[in-house]
């Protein structure tokens, strides 16, 4: 039996690693969309983070500084989006698509001399006796710190949106920007901050790919992870914990198809590599057939805000 060669604990461990970059990007985009902005440039910001993080980590020898650089790279690109959509009032969908294309092109240029280099290693977090627990130890407690920080970030975003005043204002801006403006909240300021947070998260997600998961730099290495993250936000109906469940589901599919390929299942490789994207589309179709009800989309999502007074 070929499937017998797949070890569930290893699969689980690989799944968490595979899920982390899309979860990071998705949780950032979730906050952006909760503020009423649709940034389709996630893929571009991710690849930017992957490239900038890689370059900085190689040059400084520190993956930690690399991650910081990746977040800043993502923010830089997201600020371009903020400038276009919030100050110059351009169309969000077109700007987001342009951002992705721009990010892919720019990183191909920046990363030219870094192809084939191995980045400094990010150490696994030593959790001592926890990682000796049979099965669970191997599956859950053998990761690098970013995996755990990402889970903590999901919790923090959930708390922020649900319980903090700033989170309530962010949701209010995303729900009805005219009302938020009438009450005296700064719609654009809130949105620009949210866009920057989204950029930072996408950048970190990209760097996780190039510094830990792969770890290498190749042109266009995000191969659609940003799009999966976007679909994930809708799949999660804009709820942080569901985004995490979704990310692990997608991570599971990605890892499983790799394992199936390795185990020699007789399906052409192309079908297997297609599967995460097909399932993304399928999930979107199933969810949007609910005719909007229960979809929980922010009321002002993707609507431009003109202050009338």
């Amino acid at each position: 039996m070929i499937l017998g060669s797949i070890n569930p604990a290893v699969l689980m461990a690989a799944l968490m690693v595979a899920a982390t970059p899309i979860l990071l990007a998705a949780i950032g985009e979730l906050v952006v969309e909760k503020a009423g902005v649709l940034n389709l440039g996630v893929e571009g910001m991710m690849i930017m983070g992957a490239c900038v993080g890689f370059i900085i980590a190689v040059n400084t020898g520190s993956p930690f500084i690399g991650f910081i650089g990746a977040a800043l790279g993502g923010i830089a690109l997201s600020l371009l989006f903020a400038l276009l959509t919030q100050a110059l009032m351009t169309n969000q969908v077109a700007s987001g698509l342009a951002l992705t294309l721009f990010g892919l092109g720019l990183t191909a240029l920046l990363g030219q001399q870094y192809v084939g280099i191995t980045p400094p290693r990010t150490p696994k977090l030593d959790l001592g006796p926890l990682s000796d627990i049979p099965f669970l130890g191997r599956a859950l407690f053998t990761h690098d710190i970013v995996v755990y920080l990402t889970i903590a970030l999901v919790g923090a975003v959930w708390w922020f949106l649900k319980y903090s005043r700033a989170g309530m204002i962010l949701r209010a801006v995303g729900e009805n920007h005219d009302a938020a403006h009438a009450l005296g909240y700064h719609v654009k300021r809130v949105r620009v901050l949210a866009i920057m947070f989204g950029g930072a998260c996408a950048g970190l997600g990209g760097a996780y790919l190039s510094l830990i998961r792969v770890p290498q730099w190749t042109e266009g290495m995000t191969v659609g992870a940003g799009w999966i993250a976007l679909a994930l936000v809708v799949f999660a109906s804009w709820r942080p914990w569901r985004a995490m469940a979704g990310a692990y589901l997608f991570g599971g599919i990605v890892v499983l198809q790799l394992n199936l390929q390795a185990a020699g299942v007789r399906i052409p490789v192309e079908y297997l590599s297609m599967s995460p994207y097909l399932i993304t589309i399928l999930v979107l179709v199933i969810i949007s057939s609910g005719k909007g009800r229960g979809l929980n989309a922010p009321g002002s999502l993707n609507k431009p805000f003109h202050a009338s007074s």
């Binding site: 005043r165 309530m168 204002i169 949701r171 209010a172 729900e175 009805n176 005219d178 009302a179 938020a180 009438a182 009450l183 005296g184 909240y185 005719k291 909007g292 009800r293 229960g294 979809l295 929980n296 922010p298 009321g299 007074s309």
Partner: protein, 508 residues
């Protein structure tokens, strides 16, 4: 003479091309209910936005209890005791009542304490509210209570109310007035913005009338007749529309026991709707906003499709047909939302004329548009309905509300339909334009078309309708002749005051 609470001196605000407020001065006394009266575009909104800190005046000053008052933003105004209940745009559908209240407060307490205070205050003032409900599920009257309670929790010295009764049944209006009088007797001043004259005469101690951005007069509204106030407000003598007696013809439109799901998650589904409309008849449908008006219009226009036999046009089943097919058969409609629904904001008037008229007027053949003929048609509408615009090349969004409304209603009337369905035909339209639109609808009925008017303005319906029904939570009352109905009965048809027994007890 009462002590002055807020004094406005020479407030002026100009926007490019228009002076919204020109040297406006008046006083609001402590505990006074002061009306601010004027047509759309008279400058009422700009004036209150200055008081609430949303707009900075170009010139002039305000003093609040003898202290200079120049709020830079709404939070400043709130901190100094000025609160405002908005006409619309200030609630968040997907958030609960307590969150909505917290968003309007400077330093809200933790949500649990806030929920208790919301219950206390809402019951003390006869405005029952459940803090945990989602605002999107509330009726218009309840939504307004959320806004009022939000203001009351901050102990305001001055409460600004912008057109508060436009969404209420007459019974709910009574309850609101009781609350406002109670507030006033406790020393809270109220600035009450409206163009409903009878209400102002019933409620207010003093009225300031604005026209074209200038103050026309400050007077005691109880000493003037509604007609005198109207003429001060409009600046001309008004004629009620003429309504010649006319014979009713055959049934042109009938709907039979139709139930239909709304396509909007916060919408109202239609439940068991039946009525018929005869040629030459004007049927008025009243109801508080959000009771199924939008869905009724969509169902009749063809944007929402129904089982084919349940909607009949001149006896033929049309329920399954879309808007163009219905238009071709003689049923046209004009929805409430002018920008984005009745008209495409960024297209010229000519293009907008084409959009609904191409079928009936033959403006396109074999896939090609006959632009010269379309422009002639647009010019006809502009001339016949007195649309004030430089020409048909102007973008729809550049027109004022009243002018665009005249254009979109005129466009449909010019199609010479057998049935016309309009929703809120004079919403946000000045009195002169409203009179033109009403007259045009009556003229069309005079020519033998069936006219169905959905409106929240009862005076309008009583003025033009031959028969009358009301929508209440998606159900339509039986149709009754309009003659002889009074406002009290209509209020009951509209559902009276929703869950108001608590309120009645509290204020008894």
């Amino acid at each position: 003479m009462r002590k002055s609470l807020l004094r406005l001196e020479g407030l002026t605000k100009a926007y490019p091309g228009v002076v919204a407020n020109d040297d406006v001065s008046f006083d609001i006394g402590e505990g006074q209910i002061h009306a601010l009266l004027g047509e759309n575009g008279a400058g009422k909104s700009t004036l209150v936005k200055m008081i609430y800190g949303l707009v900075k005046p170009d010139a002039g000053q305000m003093t609040l209890r003898d202290q200079p008052f120049a709020p830079a933003q709404p939070s400043d105004a709130r901190r100094k005791g000025v609160a405002m209940v908005f006409q619309h745009f200030s609630l968040f559908d997907a958030m609960d009542v307590a969150e909505n209240v917290a968003l309007g407060m400077e330093n809200p307490p933790p949500l649990r304490d806030l929920a208790r205070r919301i219950r206390d205050v809402s019951e003390a003032y006869g405005l029952p509210l459940d803090p945990t409900r989602l605002v999107g599920e509330l009726s218009a009257g309840e939504r307004q209570r959320v806004e009022i309670v939000r203001c009351l929790l901050q102990d305001p010295k001055l409460l600004i109310m912008d057109e508060p009764t436009s969404v209420l049944t007459p019974q709910e209006v009574d309850i609101l007035f009781r609350t406002l009088r109670k507030l006033s007797s406790e020393g809270t001043a109220i600035l009450y913005i409206s163009h409903k004259l009878e209400e102002i005469r019933a409620l207010c101690d003093e009225a300031t009338i604005l026209r074209g951005g200038r103050k026309i007069a400050t007077c005691d509204p109880r000493e003037k007749s509604a007609r005198e106030l109207a003429e001060l407000m409009v600046g001309q003598v008004l004629h009620p529309p003429e309504r010649p007696a006319r014979p009713m013809g055959d049934v042109v439109l009938s709907v039979d026991k139709l139930s239909l799901h709304s396509n909007n998650p916060f919408g109202t589904s239609l439940k068991d709707i039946s009525f018929s409309l005869r040629a030459g008849e004007v049927l008025g449908i009243a109801g508080v906003a959000g009771n199924g008006q939008d869905e009724l219009l969509l169902m009749l226009s063809g944007e929402l499709q129904a089982p084919s036999a349940q909607v009949r046009l001149k006896g033929q089943p049309v329920g399954h047909l879309g808007p163009n097919a219905r238009r071709k058969r003689g049923l046209v409609s004009a929805p409430e939302e002018r920008l984005g629904h009745a008209a495409a904001p960024d297209m010229s008037l000519t293009s907008n004329a084409l959009l609904s008229a191409s079928e009936r007027k033959g403006l396109a053949s074999r896939g090609f548009i006959d632009w010269p003929a379309t422009e002639v048609f647009a010019r006809d509408i502009i001339a016949r309905f007195d649309v004030r615009t430089p020409g048909p090349h102007v973008l729809a969004r550049a027109l004022s509300g009243g002018n665009l409304q005249k254009f979109v209603i005129g466009r449909e009337i010019e199609l010479d339909p057998d049935v016309i369905v309009v929703n809120q035909p004079t919403w946000g339209v000045d009195a002169a334009a409203a009179a033109t639109i009403r007259q045009a609808l009556l003229d069309l009925a005079g020519k033998g078309a069936g006219v169905l008017v959905i409106s929240q303005d009862l005076d309008e319906l009583l003025e033009i309708a031959d028969s009358f029904a009301a929508l209440n939570e998606g159900r339509l009352t039986p149709v009754r002749p309009a003659r002889g109905l009074d406002v009290e009965e209509i209020g009951l048809m509209m559902g009276g005051a929703h869950d108001m027994h608590v309120a009645q007890e509290a204020s008894a």
